[in-house]
Subunit: 333 residues, 2 copies
């Protein structure tokens, strides 16, 4: 297959590297800092199984630089705040299928509005990967298969099963599921409850579940999501918020109690977050159907404020002052 | 006058010191760490006018240790989360008047429910003082007179005017105002809008007013307070939230743009905050009259969580881990 991987973050590197290694004709688009090192030294992928070195020359900064314009598959791996820009870019090439390997709500909706339901494959990716150097990525955890599918049933099952097999054979555990949209929303639920509070208070998931106040806030975030999903006709795996909360506190949190949200890592690194595709999306969907989402709304605003305050090259935030807390600051009662 | 100052924080030290210096018979109750140093070395008060050293021997840890039980005036200076305990203690002594030198909503209501309206004098204290050593306090800023009065008009004006004069003569600028309750609420408004957001995001007032997200949150906090105040029949100085917001952003914030809330200082020092007498009180009052206060509610929960996570000797918070952020933590998307 001739494949274009759009986005060379941790996930993009894993897709590009494994697909190339499996013998596919792989092209990739990424940011400047990744392009040159990968062209020169290739891509290194480390995992529990050892390390692979993959020679990947067809890596570009801009889509116009691509030597070919026709692809069997495009894998979109950019963060959700970059989706619209990427889709605009992808109008410049031709492809049979676009596989979205992203998080949060809104990517599938945007992609189908541009390219039609028949071309867009949604996935829920749940493995963790971390960039060690510009050309070196480490796969840290594979919690479950990548799940792929088409929420509208607009793509034949054979095509989806075949793609799952292709990815599996390349070393990316993947399965086809007709209920992929529910899988995606399951991750939205989990991320929306934990990520912003963990990022705001700078604590791990176990602590959020332990403290009465944060537990109440997570309960309300979850309840608001269930109310919005019901009004929007979005199916979730759980009958109601109560059923999910039981599963969430009893089964999901204990094994990840020591985990911190990547949203906190992003904020601390001066990067934007995906809050608008998580709690921010709940607020927008809630408005569409007249369901109030006050907790998701306040939490979204606070994360956006914290994000802005930490964005690189941001001059609003008196970091020096904050770090020197208690030294020469003026405190007022 | 024979005066008991209950609470030897920064404010208590200023009241006790100046009243003693003016020749009154002053007794004081304070925490262990303050009692011994003051007994041994006296009290030092520094301000723009220079330094005063005051000999203050009658300082005790427990109310039962007091050598006398009858007072003309008790000045209560404890933080609002200690009010109930202090009032219980004060049942053990006799006094003509109880002057509340505290912040937030609920202190006057609690004090009158125990001792009656005829004995309780409310104040709005707006000067800043800072403890440099256990026996040394610095007055940093006097924004306006201390305002005293009785919200229920249950104490004769002559008494209140006389007390204001006594305090003024002792070096504490004070005036009597029949609208003292409005003065108190004016400070509640200002503090509720700025303190919790500044404490959560660790930024100064100017930054809160500059960022779109925090500005929207402050707008909503203010709007909720106006709605609750109106439903409760609490008079404010401003016709409506719009009028206050204009004053708040144009007049109040600019001169204090560099200020950080003392609530942040308290949290960082591992101390409890007065959130329950500010935004937390708005939530409780809102519930009484059926006015929703979602923004104040979420903000209160977050501050309480942050407070708990930072309380001294708290083992829930993996401080080491948080400080080592990005080192060996497990981040999850």
């Amino acid at each position: 297959m001739r494949i274009l991987v759009y986005g060379l973050g941790a996930l993009g590197k894993v897709f590009a590297g494994f697909l190339k290694k499996a013998g596919h004709e792989v092209y990739a688009i990424g940011r400047k800092k990744f392009v040159q090192p990968i062209r020169e030294k290739g891509l290194k992928i480390t995992g529990i199984w050892g390390s692979h070195h993959i020679d990947l020359k067809e890596v570009y900064e801009k889509i116009d630089e691509l030597p070919v314009k026709d692809f069997d598959l495009v894998v979109l791996t950019v963060k959700s705040y970059d989706t619209e820009r990427a889709l605009e870019d992808l109008k410049k090439v031709n492809f049979k299928y676009l596989l979205l390997a992203q998080n949060g709500y809104g990517n599938y909706e945007k992609a189908t509005s541009v390219f039609g339901k028949e071309k867009v494959i949604l996935s829920r990716v749940i493995f963790g990967a971390q960039i060690l150097e510009p050309g070196h990525v480490k796969v840290t955890v594979i919690a479950d298969d990548v799940v792929i599918g088409n929420p509208d049933g607009a793509i034949k099952e054979e095509v989806l099963k075949k793609l799952a097999q292709t990815l599996r054979e390349a070393g990316i555990p993947t399965r086809y599921e007709p209920t992929v949209y529910q899988y995606l929303w399951d991750k939205i639920l989990y991320n929306s409850a934990l990520n912003p509070l963990g990022a705001l208070l700078e604590v791990n998931y176990g602590t959020l579940a332990k403290l009465e106040e944060t537990r109440q806030l997570m309960d309300r975030i979850i309840e608001e999501i269930f109310a919005v999903a019901q009004a929007k006709g979005i199916k979730l795996f759980y009958k109601n918020a109560e059923e999910y909360k039981k599963h969430f506190y009893e089964k999901l949190i204990p094994p990840t109690a020591e985990h911190y949200p990547s949203m906190l890592q992003d904020i601390k690194a001066g990067k934007p977050t995906e809050i608008e595709a998580l709690n921010g999306a709940i607020v927008r969907l809630g408005r569409e159907v007249g369901i109030p989402t006050p907790v998701n709304e306040v939490i979204t605003q606070l994360v956006k404020a914290k994000e802005k305050l930490n964005l690189k090259n941001n001059s609003t935030h008196p970091k020096g002052l904050v770090n020197a807390l208690g030294k020469n600051l003026i405190f007022q009662q």
